[in-house]
């Protein structure tokens, strides 16, 4: 028996030493690796198919686009296109394509770009990712290796914000069915990083591209590591398994407080949160749809509601102070060029007396129970529904505050909770709501969010949603939209876009309540430097989830110690494995001993 135990112990020791040795071999050289945590998994590595934000970030790190937002001003700046010109009628764009290389060494030409755009224009299966971005394209041709000509159907000022990554024609045209291709064999890229290994729902690994046109990044490798569970991601950050995580909700962000190794990155965000008011929703053929309260058709009532909202209190109480009260509309102040701020007589501030005054003047009299009624129908009370999502504590809290203030002005608000699917249908298509919570993350070019308030975005008579955010259909707004499309002068265009925001602010089909901050956490003992976008403005900018790959290009990190740290468990990984091995060995020993005892017992029988 003693002999047995001695043999097993020896085996265990050998086992443990082997493991320690192997673990140390895992990452012998001290590489500079930046590990980013993501609670969103990659839907596809194929840019023609992918729609998720994480996939968009990967594209920004690994491909070139015609243009990229300037890191400081966010205005379009050269990327794959070194320069460009526009014809006098604004319909023809000529881009000079940069002389650079794909990661397999072949040259990048205008033919690659032409093939990419034409593929999306002609193959329905290639439209999933960025279909709308080529909708206005008439033809795209490469006149020579360095010249790309795009002809549009109508003028398009946002041409330089085209979100389509250019792929190498040679590698991609071999794919007969683009919809079935996942690009997991890592086709060539030409951006700052080259994806070289990925496991679905687990991670993506990218290595620095020495041939990137700005020069190689400072770090040698970028890893994106997936966590399904945000709490686990924060635990992983504190432990050092990841170095940075962005797009956090307030509770997770606050979990990073008080940790000496972690920087809390709290900056203005790219999102606007607003209330959507059913001002008399119609379908695209101008027929009424839904069951909105008739009082909300009156702009006075909508304005009174606006006066009855204490945005600062909402920021403090609902957003834990991690937001900015909205003094504008749907474009957040982060985008300085396009942000419009209400001033002077236009500005609506929290004032219950004024709200009451507006409603009194408009003839909505208070009944005996303190609730106002319609001027023409004393039986119809001002009782509104507030539609929010199920199981969202912040929205429930918001509803409580609004209910309290609206009661003060003689309006009853009841909360209606819907799961996201039904919420989308009732607030975006069937219009079965009075007031609903909503929001939008805005790109450096706000055209996309502005378009969500166009007449054409209203649902069709058969109820197909066109993606309206308000059922808004307003002549002035439509004209401004058309004009800004044609206006190629950035300053003049910004002015038109600001007038559109003013139109929404004054008429109140939507009421912006706050701009949630961009909340991120990173390890300051690991990341030695990183520049956000926009860069160079104190206390501003986004690290992960922004509109350019700049932060990950500028990031520098401390090199990994040349041991097994990379495997996540730190230097004790081997030890743990050894312990597990030991337990297994001991368990086996136990079984063997028991069997021996059994055999002898049976023999004795």
């Amino acid at each position: 028996m003693t002999k047995w135990l001695a043999r097993l112990a020896a085996l265990g020791v050998v086992f443990l030493l082997t493991i320690q040795g192997q673990a140390a071999l895992a990452n012998p050289e001290g590489k500079k690796v930046l590990r980013i945590g993501s609670t969103q998994s990659v839907d596809s590595m194929n840019p023609f198919k992918a729609v998720r934000l994480i996939a968009g970030q990967l594209q920004r790190w690994s491909y070139l686009f015609l243009t990229t937002p300037d890191p400081k001003t966010l205005a379009p700046s050269p990327d794959l296109a070194e320069s460009w010109e526009t014809s006098p009628d604004g319909l023809t764009w000529t881009f000079k394509i940069r002389d650079t290389k794909w990661s397999d060494g072949t040259p990048v030409t205008a033919h690659d770009a032409a093939w990419t755009f034409n593929k999306i224009m002609t193959d329905d299966k290639a439209k999933t990712g960025n279909g709308p971005a080529v909708e206005n394209f008439e033809t795209v041709t490469a006149t020579d290796d360095r010249t790309l000509v795009i002809k549009t159907k109508a003028p398009q000022a946002s041409m330089l914000e085209n979100p389509i990554p250019i792929v190498p024609k040679a590698a991609w045209e071999k794919q007969a069915d683009i919809g079935a291709y996942e690009a997991e064999d890592n086709p060539p890229v030409n951006g700052m990083y080259i994806p070289y290994e990925q496991k679905k729902d687990q991670y993506v690994k990218l290595k620095a591209n020495p041939d990137y046109w700005r020069g190689a990044p400072k770090i040698s490798e970028l890893q994106v590591i997936f966590y399904e569970n945000p709490e686990a991601a924060i635990a992983g950050l504190k432990k050092g398994e990841i170095d940075l995580i962005g797009r956090l909700a307030a509770p997770q962000f606050e979990a990073g407080a008080g940790d000496a190794t972690i920087t809390q990155w709290n900056t203005p965000g790219r999102r606007a949160a607003y209330l959507q008011i059913n001002h008399g929703a119609t379908t695209s053929d101008d027929k009424p749809v839904g069951d909105g309260h008739p009082a909300l058709k009156d702009v006075k009532v909508r304005q009174a509601l606006h006066y009855a909202i204490d945005k600062q209190a909402l920021v403090d109480q609902v957003q834990n102070g991690l937001a900015v009260p909205a003094d504008g509309s749907i474009v957040p102040p982060m985008y300085q060029d396009f942000f419009w701020q209400a001033e002077g007589a236009d500005k609506v501030s929290f004032d219950l007396a004024k709200a009451n005054q507006i409603l009194d003047d408009a003839g909505y009299k208070k009944g005996a129970d303190g609730v106002r009624t319609m001027p023409d129908d004393p039986g119809k009370k001002l009782e509104f529904r507030f539609t929010i999502h199920t199981e969202t504590p912040t929205e429930e809290k918001l509803a409580q505050y609004l209910t309290g203030w609206f009661k003060e002005i003689g309006i009853t608000l009841t909360t209606k909770q819907l799961d996201s699917n039904q919420f989308t249908e009732e607030t975006g298509s069937t219009a079965l709501f009075d007031i609903a919570i909503s929001g939008w993350s805005v790109n450096p070019d706000p055209e996309e969010v502005l378009a969500t308030h166009l007449c054409s975005r209203r649902p069709t008579p058969t109820g197909d949603g066109g993606g309206t955010e308000s059922f808004w259909c307003n002549k002035e707004y439509e004209d401004l939209y058309t004009n800004q499309l044609k206006e190629l002068d950035r300053a003049k265009r910004a002015d038109l876009i600001k007038q559109m925001q003013k139109n929404l602010y004054v008429n109140a089909p939507v009421i912006a309540i706050y701009y949630p901050n961009n909340l991120e956490l990173y390890r300051k003992d690991k990341i030695t430097s990183i520049e956000p976008v926009p860069a160079g403005r104190s206390g501003e900018g986004i690290l992960y989830g922004g509109s350019s790959g700049w932060p990950m290009y500028t990031a520098d990190v401390k090199a990994d110690p040349g041991s097994a740290t990379a495997s996540g468990g730190g230097s004790n990984t081997g030890l743990i494995i050894g312990i597990i091995g030991g337990v297994v060995v001991l368990g086996l020993a136990g079984v063997l001993l028991a069997r021996r005892r059994k055999t002898t017992a049976d023999d004795r029988e």
Binding site: K49, D124, I225, N229, T424, S429, D464
Partner: protein, 349 residues
């Protein structure tokens, strides 16, 4: 001792005759059960189709909420999703495909659902399979010991502990283990990874197997902790039933050692009810432990299901749901058949 009576050629022939009928009976029994299972599977397929269409909301609208698409593009999407067809055609299409294990194309990933399920089923089976083996062994062993010395200290403690763990919410326990043993708290160092099935820079070969084992410790522990009580309790109560039986008293009266009475006589009989339980659970193993996979970001079927619900990605939800249902039905059928083979009393009945 007297010589055994069933020796010699005559005895063999004699013994062979009555064997014949139960064998045919077993076959008929098995066929009946398989037939029943097929009917159940057919019903599940039909029910699945209608159940997932009862969920409120139009998937196309849900998918295009934050995407600026023209009505043409929405129409295209509707066509790609097969939603432009009348419901009856959709139903026929669904059934025909389901029979061939084709559950359509995921809305979210634009890939065949079976491919997605195929990718995930391995890691789920690994986690839940190992978990099940450990839970069954632990439960049966503790249940046996607890029943044999029932009322004793081991009985009281093990039963109490298992019941406490059984009543603990899986999510809470998983998160607790994650926060203490994976993240590390106070003097406890973070010993285990916080996510996934393997390290990003995982080594190759044998070390890779150990890396996966290292990642599996906490999810497995959580899984075992919350389910082993069932085996313990079933084993304990069925062994307690057996202890009072005459044949156990006889065995003791023959002067057999206590250990032998338990192992040779009582436990084999007490094991029978647990067989059903284990088989039913093997069915659920395919479905994985959704919560455990969520907490530890384990890339299995459960995670796929959670991601599909977020979508909502109906084809994936349908596919995952059907695969789990079919697995449970098959395992139930197997349990019936195995039970029949193991227990002569069921055969006789």
């Amino acid at each position: 001792m007297t010589a055994p009576i069933d020796t010699g050629p005559a005895a063999e022939v004699a013994a062979g005759l009555p064997e014949d009928r139960p064998a045919r009976g077993t076959l008929r029994y098995a066929l009946t059960k398989v037939g029943g299972a097929l009917v159940s599977i057919a019903m599940v397929i039909v029910a699945t189709f209608f159940m997932f269409r009862l969920i409120p909301g139009d998937p196309v609208i849900a998918y295009t909420r934050d995407v600026p698409l023209s009505p043409d593009q929405i129409e295209l999407l509707r066509k790609q999703m097969g939603l432009d067809q009348p419901v009856f055609n959709q139903f026929i299409d669904f059934v025909v495909r389901a029979v061939r294990f084709d559950f359509g194309t995921s809305y979210e990933y634009r890939r065949p659902v079976m491919d997605l399920i195929g990718e995930k089923v391995g890691s789920t089976l690994l986690l839940t399979g190992v978990g099940l083996v450990i839970a069954v062994s632990l439960g049966l062993w503790q249940g046996t010991r607890a029943a044999w010395n029932h009322g004793g200290r081991f009985d009281r403690y093990s039963t109490a502990i298992s019941l406490v763990l059984w009543s603990v919410p899986t999510f809470w326990l998983g998160l607790l283990l994650l926060m203490t043993l994976a993240a590390g708290i106070g003097p406890i160092p973070g010993m285990f990874p916080t996510r996934g099935m393997d390290s990003v820079d995982a080594p190759d070969g044998f070390a890779y197997i150990l890396d996966v084992a290292h990642h599996m410790v906490l999810p497995c522990l959580t899984l075992v902790a919350v389910v082993y009580a069932q085996y313990l309790l079933v084993m304990r109560s069925s062994l307690l039933d057996e202890i009072g039986q005459d044949y156990v008293t006889t065995a003791r009266a023959k002067g057999l050692r206590d250990d032998l009475v338990r192992r040779r006589h009582a436990v084999p009989n007490a094991l029978l009810p647990t067989v059903t339980l284990v088989f039913i659970h093997i069915g659920f193993v395919v479905g994985g432990a959704v919560t455990v996979e969520y907490v530890f970001s384990w890339p299995g079927l459960g995670l796929l299901f959670v991601e599909a619900i977020k979508g909502p990605d109906f084809p994936v939800m349908q596919g995952a749901f059907l695969v789990v249902c079919i697995a449970v039905i098959i395992m139930n059928t197997l349990a019936d058949v195995v039970y029949h083979l193991l227990d002569p009393r069921v055969r006789a009945a």
